[in-house]
């Protein structure tokens, strides 16, 4: 971590100087009025190459972005949008299930329906990303992922009756 030099500018505010690894200097002046100014000095130049003025609120936002704690709500909406078309489904393997006691590769699930089995929950054991040799047993719960159509196909194909709500 590089050292931050702090110094008072009486009548103006406070100055913080950060020497960057590149040899440039970044200087932040916090005015008593609450205004912030960010100056960039290239190497030993004694005049700033750029000056950015920020008000209190803008400074908080920029600060949060720089520390990596700021997420724009817009991006969150996009994520929701992306998740809209993808569904996860929990399915319990009951005694008369067509899936019971079969290897995953035998069932050819992905080819037939497009759905993937992401996890098998067997009692207290959890098998994430099960291999194709894994055998699905009675009383297992499997978690599958696919879009709505793929899930519907899966349910029709393997005659699933018992679905667990999320």
């Amino acid at each position: 971590m590089s050292e931050i030099k702090e110094c008072d500018l009486p009548g103006i505010g406070k100055k913080f100087t950060l020497e960057l690894d590149s040899g440039d200097k970044l200087v932040v002046v916090i005015h008593s009025s609450g205004e912030r100014e960010v100056f960039k000095f290239i190497h030993d130049n004694d005049e700033p190459t750029s000056v950015t003025k920020l008000n209190d609120e803008e400074a908080h936002q920029i600060g949060a972005i720089l520390t990596g704690t700021y997420f724009q709500p817009v991006i969150e909406d996009e994520q929701k949008l992306a998740m809209k078309n993808v569904t996860m489904e929990w399915i319990k393997i009951v005694p008369d299930s067509t899936l019971a006691n079969k290897k995953i590769e035998e069932l050819n699930i992905r080819k037939l329906t497009g759905v993937s089995i992401t996890t098998i929950i067997r009692g207290k054991h959890v098998i994430p990303n099960p291999s194709s040799h894994e055998i699905i047993k009675l009383q297992d719960t499997i978690i599958i992922v696919g879009n709505n159509e793929q899930i519907k196909k899966f349910i029709a194909k393997f005659e699933i009756k018992q679905r667990l709500e999320e």
Partner: protein, 395 residues
Amino acid sequence: MIVSESVLSLGISLIALFFAGLLATKINQSLIAVFIVVGMILQNFFPVTIITEFIATLGVIFMLFMFGLEFSIGSFFHNQRRIFLVGVYDLIFNFPLGMLIGWILGYDLIHSLLLGGIIYVTSSVIVAKSIIDLERSANPETECILNILIFEDMFIAMFLAFIVGIGNYNHIEVKGTLFVILKTTGFFAFYIILSRTSKKLIDWLVDVEHTELFVILILSIIVLSAGVAARIGLSEAIGAFLAGLLLSETKQRQRISEAIKPFQQFSTAIFFVAFGMSVDYKHVIYLIPMGIFIFIISSFSKVMGGYFIGKRYLLSKKACLRLGFSLVPRGEFSIILAGAVAMNNNMPYSLKSLAGVYVLLSAILGSIIMKESERVTKWFVEKKDDEIKQIKENI
């Protein structure tokens, strides 16, 4: 009768100040110079009444109080070595020069001392504002400039107390001078020790919720302190300055500043107008060449002094020159000094008028010089570089 007439003339002064100030901000000039000019014009229409004079006195008191309040005594003690180093340099370069000029002009010792102070003290108000406007707050020389200004303000505050004390004797004698120095130091020491030791008590004292009572309490502290200073034969301004210093470390500092600011802005404006009104019109024209002469000499010494201080701080040539040019504007303190002591009118040049001309020149030209210093320094540095190149080529 006098009171109601004064009210009208006050109203006229204020509206004139408003429009002149509006114009000044449009062309980015300092308000101080404009207010003085307004005063000089207004003296043709009505005289300075005792009421304007009273408001002007309050103006000085509030101005000094705000200086004290914004003066960070913590950072003063924290950086004292640096501040003293640059400050003493600046003092040596500029103060004796003013005294010398005063002596050449035929002033007595008190007036020469006053002229020394007037020429020595840079305007912190104009310079700090220009630094912010010109986006130089992060420049390497700025720290240095502000340290110089702190030293100057502190020095001139003490000097003001001293010179007013001396002025009361009307002439300088060893015993009286020693007594005044003792009084001044004692007064300063009392406040500084109080502010260092009784922080909690003062904090508790000014922690008043009620807005109106709060304003009254703060005003009473300021005016009482100023009054006591005047009673013991020092300047009122210094009492106010020290009251500001005392309150500057309290938690209420921001609130005090907000409460007093409107009073200060109003009365300080009237102070500059009253000063302008008391500057003798006919004298001024005759004093302009002298004013220009002093301005050129004193600007040169400021720039030189600044340059050397910069060199000591290992700043680049450009930064050194910028530092020097930033010290040229004179303003509020010079005006306060010029009005501080009752003048002896037998002097060959009226010190008050001369100070008026000088401050007008240096406030207006000084801020322009600060702005244009970029060009001058570039020219200067490039010329030097060229000379060096030529010398090298010749070799």
